[in-house]
């Protein structure tokens, strides 16, 4: 019996070693592959936005975009099942939802400060009106980048066919989500404002002070942003609302999109500016329907949400 098993094992070992002979020239192949990786990294790292890898990215994106779209559509009914099944905690959830709504309303009241300040600056008024008269292109999230890649990105199901191009702002009903960095025909890649590489110009709605918001990643469960105010003497108050300050021609960010509220403030003697931690309004763990801010008069393959029309 024992002998039998041993023989069998020997046979197996023999079988494996015979297999290995076919797998001999592996070292040179591996070296070639490693060199290939190094070449790819160098090309993409040195090339920046117009590197030789971009066309390859676009091709793969064109191929995978529709597949991801179909998969996301198939998964969506199931991903919403837990919310139907939740019955025990439904009261708590209601409470939470109401609290959130309350907070949102309070935030709205705070943004009115911002609007009032805006109105005072007469020469800015017309430009603001023109800027805020933006059009939203509805899109759904069809893919999320994994945390293992240490960047926060999503794919949405609207691409150049729908008039989406790089450097457009993406929002949802709660506030700013991110900006488009790359678009294929049917999909676009969006970098969330939580991404460590993302920098957004922000303005405190209360005091009109400007600063820069940097993402801190999404690891602490809920994402947070760091706001460094340009003027070190200004003190942000907890609960202040932060909105985008806007860029030239509204790209990537138009002015006045709510981003989040101040959750905590730090100041260290070593730093010249004060750092405030911002809790974004958007719940990035449950992103689904988003809107891409497109210029008025964009030709799209779907219905657009206009500023004056009934929206959302």
């Amino acid at each position: 019996m024992a002998l039998d098993r041993r023989q069998r094992r020997e046979k197996r070992w023999k079988g494996t070693s015979r297999l290995d002979e076919g797998d001999r020239p592996s070292r040179s192949v591996v070296v070639a592959l490693l060199l290939g990786c190094a070449t790819l990294i160098t090309l993409d790292h040195q090339g920046g936005d117009d590197s030789l890898v971009e066309p390859a990215r676009r091709v793969v994106g064109e191929a995978f975009g529709p597949v991801e779209e179909v998969t996301a559509a198939a998964v969506r009914p199931f991903s919403s099942v837990p919310s139907y099944l939740r019955s025990k905690g439904s009261l708590a959830d209601d409470n939470e939802a109401l609290e959130r709504e309350n907070a949102a309303l309070r935030a709205e009241v705070r943004t009115s400060d911002y609007d009032r300040n805006r109105l005072r600056e007469y020469d800015e008024l017309t430009r603001t009106a023109a800027r805020l008269d933006h059009t939203l292109l509805p899109a759904r999230v069809i893919g999320h980048g994994s945390a293992q890649s240490f960047s926060q990105t999503i794919t949405i199901d609207a691409g150049t066919d729908a008039g989406v191009h790089t450097d457009m702002a993406v929002v949802n009903s709660d506030g700013l989500v991110g900006r488009v960095v790359r678009a294929t025909r049917t999909t676009a890649t969006v970098v969330l404002i939580l991404d460590p590489a993302s920098v957004v110009g922000g303005r405190l709605g209360h005091s009109m002070e400007v600063g820069f918001l940097r993402g801190r990643g999404n690891l602490s469960g809920t994402g947070r942003l760091d706001l460094a105010l340009v003027d070190g003497t200004v003190i942000a108050n907890e609960g202040d609302t932060v909105v985008t300050w806007g860029s030239e021609d509204g790209a990537p960010y138009v002015a006045g999109i709510p981003i989040g509220r101040v959750a905590a403030i730090f100041s260290s003697p070593r730093e010249t500016s004060r750092r405030a931690v911002i809790e974004p309004f958007v719940d990035f763990t449950s992103l689904d329907l988003v809107g891409v801010v497109v210029p008025a008069g964009t030709e799209a393959d779907r219905g657009l949400i206009r500023a004056e029309g009934e929206d959302r």
Binding site: L33, L34, F64, G143, A147
Partner: protein, 171 residues
């Protein structure tokens, strides 16, 4: 035959990638999802050896690097998965794939793959993430990958065993 095998491997990797991007984020814990592409590479390498492992790792890595939501420097996952595929393939020569050996191999491969990716990020300064957070993500990823191993590895290994070229030498 080789072409057929290549196409089959490509289809399997694409399926893994799409599930990783579009299905598993709904189940993600702290944004970390199981690295299905890595599981496929490890499964293939354990059956087919270092050369196939490395080649498949390169293919899988390039796909992960280029497919839509990715925005990091291309080639980083390719590098990580080539290393993983090669070393997992080397493992096969010494151990026969018992369940616990496969689990260990997956845990080691997952840790190694995520670490190589994270280290390449530190060298290139691609994302500016503190090392402590990197470790946290890597360990969660190991747990995820080990959890998914019983579901993913047996069919993958069976498939690659089926796809093995017919051996001529029956001495």
């Amino acid at each position: 035959m080789t072409l057929f095998r290549g196409v089959a491997a490509l289809l399997l990797l694409s399926l893994a990638l799409v599930l990783q991007v579009s299905l598993f984020p709904h189940l993600a814990w702290r944004g970390v999802v199981p690295n299905l592409a890595l599981l496929v590479v490890v499964g293939a390498a354990l059956v087919r050896g270092p050369q196939t492992g490395a080649m498949l790792g390169f293919l899988a890595g390039v796909l992960v690097d280029l497919a839509p939501p990715a925005d990091h420097v291309a080639g980083r996952w390719a590098l990580a998965l080539v290393v993983v595929g090669f070393l997992a393939g080397r493992l096969r020569q010494e151990t026969r794939p018992s369940a616990s050996a496969v689990l260990l191999a997956v845990a080691a491969a997952s840790f190694l793959g995520s670490s190589v990716f994270a280290l390449s990020g530190l060298v290139l300064q691609d994302p500016v993430v503190p090392v402590a957070e990197m470790m946290q993500v890597i360990l969660i990823a190991v747990v995820w990958d080990v959890l998914l191993t019983p579901l993913v590895l047996p069919p993958v290994m069976a498939l690659f065993r089926r796809l093995e070229p017919a051996r001529v030498a029956w001495t």
